[in-house]
Symmetry: C2
Subunit: 149 residues, 2 copies
């Protein structure tokens, strides 16, 4: 979202209050996509879409993303079978972020590490910095088998 | 997250499985931050943190972001009173996204438009494209009063 409270900053009323879908892609042609579990509600993963991935998602009802590492359109679950059916997609106030509520096929795992969510570690303050604690570390599948790594 | 399934793509085992916090900032020095309601679970907003905002968030337990529009450290709620107390912060597999579960002070609104969540519109297929439907449009405060716009 954009931040308020600056005299020099103007918000676009049509973008924020209108019903025209005008997704704002960044300079790489991408828009942020937050994926949550339609049943449980927790955040499953975070990724980006380009215009093609967004169109494919809307057209098929199945989540597509842009893989920044592979530089390719990516139908989530194409290798693992963990397809994501979109129950609802929302856009934020300034239309530069999407929120998808999904049902995950197969084991229900969204993370390539085999876990249900990519967010399986908590950030905790430690010695003036921070360290991590494993909180949802159970694997629902073995990535070495699924991806043949 | 990163996408799997490419022979040329390697995952960093230490980053994914270790307990060292090693946030991966993008070329602008920012990391994505997803904010959900610790009580209700829904996504409230999406923003970015730079290293200073992340440190301030960890040190104070109150959400700070980097305002891309104002190019400034931004303590969420500094103008509106809608401070966000962080109940839990998590990081994703490749440590390039954060998930904050927060309690929002004041009216409980997270969006500068006065709404509880920035995601108050649903994206719906329409005529080969998409349009928006208002789904959580109620305002908890009047932004014209709060921000003096």
């Amino acid at each position: 979202m954009t931040s308020p409270a600056s005299p020099s900053h103007t918000h676009d009323h049509d973008v924020e209050e209108g019903l025209a879908f005008a997704p704002k892609f960044d300079r790489d042609g991408l828009i942020a996509a937050i994926v949550t579990d339609a049943a449980g509600g927790g955040v499953l993963m975070f990724a980006y879409m380009n215009a093609d991935a967004l169109k494919a998602t809307i057209d098929t009802g199945v989540a597509h993303f842009w893989s920044r590492s592979r530089k390719a359109l990516w139908r989530k679950g194409e290798t693992s079978g963990h397809e994501m059916t979109v129950e609802e997609m929302r856009v934020d106030c300034d239309q530069d972020a999407l929120w998808l509520r999904v049902r995950v096929a197969g084991t229900g795992a969204a993370c390539h590490t085999g876990r249900r969510s990519c967010f399986y570690r908590r950030v905790e303050p430690a010695d003036g910095g921070a360290s991590l604690a494993m909180v949802d570390g159970d694997r629902l599948f073995d990535p070495r088998v699924t991806y043949g790594a």
